[in-house]
Structure formats: structure tokens, C-alpha cells
Amino acid sequence: MGDKPSARLIVGASGARLLLKGLVMKRFARALGFAMGLAILLGFGTQAASSQTLKAVQDRGQLICGANGTLAGFGLPDPQGNWTGFDVDFCRAIAAAIFNDPTKVKFVPLTAANRFTALQSGEVDVLARNTTWTMSRDTSLGIDFAAVNYYDGQGFMVRKSLKVNSALELNDAAVCVQQGTTTELNLADYFRSNNMSLKTVTFATADEAVKAYDSSRCDSYTTDSSALYGERLRLADPGAHIVLPEIISKEPLSPAVRQGDDTWEDIVRWVHHAMINAEELGVNQKNVDDMLKSSAPDIRRLLGVEGQFGEPLGLSNDWAYRIIKAVGNYGESFERNVGQGSPLKIARGLNALWTKGGLQYGLPVR
């Protein structure tokens, strides 16, 4: 019974084939050709080292950078609308490497809560928004962290009038915190492991949390210590507040990219290391043109005088020269935005070069 329909089908098919042989064969050949062409195209797409994100950025003529927007020292538009900050400089460095023009960046202000979605959905090309590199974020969000550009840790700010000298005295205190941050989790961990109780008041944005702290809703405001110095400047009376000495967590801040575009990740990683290497080698914004004539092989490779290190990334070979010319080396960017050249006056600390007791270590360009 089961054979009959299929037998009929074959008879039918052979009849049709006899009738339409020429036409069908021609169509089939054309379809096959198209499919093979598509397969070849796709094959090229995956094999060649070119980056989709880089291509999209180049076609657009502009890098789209997810930045903070409300954090002095890291990402904040000034009254004229010009973005400034340490993370902002990082995006400008990427733009300089690609376009030889640090202004070809569009900054998108993101909150802690919407930053990962913005990156995942392709709304931004790179996320440089004081974001902590954690294992779960790296493995389950579909994003990759490129390089730690700021070693940070969580701290507490309190009113001087409370006469608190240590975070360990904050038992039963009300603490304002921003939602969707590692800070929110570290806070609970810290109080629990020290057998202290607390009243957490959670806000969706840092802005709201700081405002609530400023209006005495909380005894303390907690976030990454770098940000505490920036936020303190926004309070009604910055002098009435102190940052407590305890650093309760490790917060390695890193720019992030979407997972799956390895070349783009390489570009972002090496932009960071170019800036570190420049500082290690004493190359800065002022002397970079003179350094082109240097005979030191490390400097010649970094600035693209020797070797072809930019090409595999899809960039020109003077990519690092462009970065340093436009935004300077790591130390210059640090001091200008958060260090001694800024109102924040944050010491280099962990972010000093490895040769000076810090953790910043430039991977070799060779």
C-alpha cells in the first residue's frame, strides 16, 4: 500500500522531466550557480581577517561609543557639548587609529542598567563606560572585554558630620547605591561578611542615588572609588563629605565589544596597549613627531616606521602614531582627566606603570 503513491509520483515526475527537461535543467543550473556564489561569498566573509564592525564604522564614517555621560573624569559633556573624560579619550583614540581624526566619534550616554543591552543590540560599537570586567559578564552576556584600562575598587563616601572613620563603623547605616552594578552586589557581600546590617536604597541611575544621598536620604553613598571623587564634586557642599579609606572590592574597568568579532576586539585591545607602550617608551603628544626619527626599535615598531603591525587589524601602519598625536599616551590621558591636571586629583596608584609599582603593563608590539 505504502509504495503506490510514491511510485505514482515517480511516474509523474519522469513524465514532467520528459516534458520540461530543457527548461528545468537550465533553471537548476542557474540556481546551483547562485548558491555556489553565495557559499563562496560567505566563505570569504568568515575566512578573511576583516572586521564587520570595523567595516561598518568605516562606512558610517564615525565610531559610536557607549559612554557614561554623567561621570566627571570618565565621561561627561561640558557646557558646550564637547565630551571629555578618560573613557571618552579612549574612544577618541580608537577613532584616531581608524580615521586619523579623534572627533569622528558619536557618544551615546548610557546608564549602568542599559549599557549591556546597547552593546548587545549593536547600538554602540564599543562600550567604554567604567565597566567592571567580571566572569559572568564576560561569559554570559555575549560580550568580550578588551583590556583593563583602569584598576578600580569600591569605596564609601560619608558626611564628615557623622564622624565615621571606617566603613566598618557603618553598621545599620542607610546606603544609597546604583542599580545594575557590581557595586550593588559587593555592598551586600561586604556588610554580610562583616556581620553588619544595612539599609540599601537602590536607584536606577547614579544621578538619582547621588541626589538622594545629598538630601540625607542615606548615610553613605557607595560606588567605585574613582567615581566617588567625581560625584563628590557634584554635591551641594563637597567639603562636607569624605571618602572612607576602605576599598572593598576589585573593579577592573575595561572597554567591551560584542563577542564574535575578534578583529574588532583586537583593535580595541591594542589601542589600549599602544597608549601604555607609548608611556613606557616616553613617547607623548608633544614629542611624537620627533620620535619618528628615533633609532630605538621598540619606538620605530610602535609608530609604524618599521614593520607592518596595523595591516592585519585592517588599519594603517601608523595607527599608534595617530593615537598618540591625537590624545597622547596613557599617562597623559590619565593626568588630564582624573589625575593632577583635573579637579579629581586621583593618584596613579594601581594604574601606574608596572615599572613604577602599578599594574599597567604594555604588551609588546612586535
Binding site: Q120, S140, Q179, E184, T202, D219
Partner: protein, 390 residues
């Protein structure tokens, strides 16, 4: 002649209808399924974790207001969801009750013959319903926060109530074992009040005489348990809030975030309910009032027994919409840090797990369910008060 097209038989039409609807359901279901499969595939391709496995993982963050036991170290994301949901239901439930009472007062007030009362009510409605709700929430939050004293200047009311910018702290009642007798008394009082009502109604139908039911019922329900409590040696003890170094400890804590959100939601929705009530009352023909007065009913009784019951039939459907609006508007809590469902679940949980699709889908489904249940209850109420044709 048989050429004339016969209309399809009733049975055939019915079959066609059912087939059409089944087809539609199949198409919608198919699209939904395809969207789900597509989303799952895309998430997997982008290396983004998916699925609902996070539900039983430890949450790790704190929540400022928890109606059920919750600790950051042991509770799961699932538990955090329930905490958020209960906080939403709390503010929505109390908000609906307050908005209804205030709305009815303002709505009836606007129809008052007293010029001042009518103008005040009209002013209230026009002022409140023309200012965006988010601004009102921020106003109440900042007004509440800024005007309240700091901890060291806390206002202490008699009865152990403390008020400062951290919230309002009330004594927490603790019930002794003998408190169950008070509960039994309360139960008896309620049963007696119901019996009284049945008797009063029957008597009114037979003799036309009305009993002062409300006062007797109130005296029964409040007086009986209270009297019993005073006779025995106070089965309730209160634990009073104490000022600590940083905060007030112990007692029942009413957060300023909760108070601000509740005030804004109730006052805002009340303005709309007032208009609904006014429309409902105006829809009752003036002849009804005149007839009631001709029968000798006093104005208050006329309103209560003749006008409002008829107005309710017009009021209930739009009132349901206002309740639904209030429930959904409670998600604006996120602006001031009140830990409702959106703040806790679609905020903290979403960010920590990174599973936006699942978390948002659950949150939407929950709001849908709350709204549908509310609609259902209001529809049942609407049926109960519908005109009974005699």
C-alpha cells in the same frame, strides 16, 4: 430557479466561522512560536545566556522593602521577583482604595451646590490631571524628602511614632497567644452585623422602617473586640522603634519612596476618578432625584439610595480603566527607587543576569495577569449591580 445563489446554511456558516478563527489562532500561535525560536537562536549565536535557569540562583543584592522574608545571601532571583511583585501589589492596592475614596469625594464635591466646594473640587481636578504623573512623583518625593527633618531632629509623636527623612516608623504590634480570643470576638461581631443587616432588610421590605444599620454594625465590629481587649490584660504588646546611631531601628517602617509613590498615584488617579464619578452621577436622570424627594427622602439618603446605585452602572467600566492605569503607572516607582516589580526584577535582576528577553517577557506577562484579574473582578462587580429587569 436554482441559479439564484443560496445563502450558506447556518451550520455551514458556523463551521466557516470556527475554521476561520481556528486558522487565525494557528497563525498567531505560529508567529509567536517562530519569534520565540528565532530569539533563542539569535541569543545562542550572540553567546548570550538564555533560558530560565537563573530563577533559582542566589540573588546577592538587597531590597529596601520586603513583605516576605528575604536575604541577599540566601534568597534567589525568584524570591526577589516575589518581593517586587508584592511591593507592586501593595502600592497598587492601597493606591486604588485611596484614589477611589478621594475620587468619589471630589467627584461628588464638584456637583455640590456649595460654590466653594464645587470650585475647589474643579480646581483640584484641573490642576492634577494636567500635570504629568512622573513630575508629580518627583515632586512628592523631593517635597517629602526635603521637608522632613534629619535623623537627629526626628519628630517623635505620642505613641512611639517617629518621623524623619528616612521614613515614618510605627510601633509594631506583637500578639500574645490570648489574642486569638479577640479574633474570635471580631468574627462573632462581623457575623452578628451581617445577620442584623439581613434582618433589617427584611423588616424594611415588610414595614418600610429603616434601622440605623451602619452605626450598630460599627459599634459591634469595633466595640466588641475592643471591649474584650480591655477586659483581658491586653493581649497586644508593642515593640517601639528606637533611634540608633544612623537609623531608626525596629517598628514598622514606611519608606519615603513608598509614601511619595502612593501619594502621587492616589492623588493623580483620584482626579480622573472624580470625573468618572461626576459623569456617572450626571447620567442619572434628574427625574430620579425629584421622584425621591417627592417621596420624602432627604438629600443624603437620595444620593446614597437612588442616585449612586444607578450612577455606579455608568461609573464601573471607566473606573476599571482608571484602576488598570494606576496599577501600570506604579511602575514609575523606578524613578524614585521604590522597589516594585520593575525596579527589582526588570532592574537589578535583569542587569545581574543579563537575560533581558526572559525578564522583560515575565514582567510583561505579570502586568497582563494583574490587569486581567482586576478587569475580571470589576466585570463581575459590574454584573452584580446591573439593572435587574422585573
Amino acid at each position: 430557479m436554482s441559479d439564484i445563489a443560496q445563502p450558506p446554511s447556518r451550520k455551514a456558516r458556523r463551521f466557516g466561522n470556527i475554521a476561520l478563527q481556528a486558522g487565525l489562532v494557528a497563525i498567531v500561535g505560529g508567529i509567536a512560536y517562530a519569534a520565540m525560536v528565532n530569539a533563542a537562536q539569535n541569543l545562542a549565536q550572540a553567546h548570550i545566556a538564555s533560558g530560565f535557569g537563573f530563577w533559582n540562583n542566589t540573588a546577592g543584592f538587597d531590597i529596601s522593602q520586603t513583605l516576605i522574608a528575604y536575604s541577599s545571601s540566601t534568597s534567589t532571583f525568584g524570591r526577589a521577583f516575589w518581593v517586587g511583585l508584592l511591593n507592586t501589589l501593595l502600592v497598587a492596592g492601597i493606591g486604588i482604595a485611596l484614589a477611589t475614596v478621594l475620587g468619589f469625594i471630589v467627584g461628588l464635591g464638584r456637583l455640590s451646590r456649595n460654590w466653594l466646594v464645587a470650585k475647589l473640587a474643579a480646581g483640584y481636578v484641573e490642576l492634577i490631571r494636567n500635570v504629568p504623573l512622573l513630575l508629580q512623583i518627583l515632586f512628592w518625593y523631593n517635597a517629602v524628602l526635603k521637608s522632613l527633618p534629619e535623623l537627629r531632629d526626628s519628630v517623635a509623636f505620642s505613641g512611639g511614632i517617629i518621623l524623619n527623612n528616612r521614613g515614618l516608623f510605627l510601633p509594631r504590634p506583637e500578639f500574645a497567644a490570648s489574642f486569638r480570643y479577640v479574633l474570635i470576638t471580631l468574627f462573632v461581631a462581623v457575623a452578628a452585623a451581617i445577620a442584623l443587616r439581613v434582618w433589617a432588610r427584611r423588616r424594611q421590605e415588610q414595614t418600610g422602617q429603616r434601622a440605623p444599620l451602619l452605626w450598630i454594625a460599627l459599634a459591634l465590629i469595633i466595640g466588641l473586640p475592643l471591649g474584650f481587649t480591655l477586659l483581658t490584660d491586653l493581649p497586644i504588646r508593642f515593640s517601639y522603634p528606637q533611634s540608633g546611631r544612623f537609623n531608626v531601628l525596629g517598628g514598622i517602617e514606611i519608606l519615603p519612596e513608598f509614601a511619595a509613590l502612593l501619594a502621587a498615584l492616589s492623588i493623580y488617579t483620584a482626579a480622573f476618578i472624580a470625573e468618572v464619578v461626576r459623569a456617572g452621577v450626571l447620567a442619572v436622570s434628574p427625574g430620579q432625584t425629584e421622584a425621591a424627594q417627592a417621596l420624602g427622602l432627604r438629600p443624603g439618603t437620595t444620593l446614597r439610595l437612588v442616585v449612586v446605585p444607578q450612577a455606579m452602572r455608568v461609573i464601573v467600566p471607566p473606573l476599571t480603566s482608571q484602576y488598570l492605569n494606576l496599577i501600570k503607572n506604579s511602575s514609575l516607582a523606578v524613578a524614585i527607587g521604590y522597589p516594585d516589580l520593575v525596579q527589582v526584577f526588570a532592574g537589578s535582576v535583569l542587569n545581574i543576569t543579563g537575560q533581558a528577553v526572559e525578564v522583560i517577557a515575565i514582567t510583561m506577562a505579570v502586568y497582563l495577569a494583574i490587569s486581567l484579574v482586576t478587569s475580571l473582578i470589576m466585570n463581575l462587580y459590574g454584573h452584580a449591580i446591573a439593572v435587574v429587569e422585573r
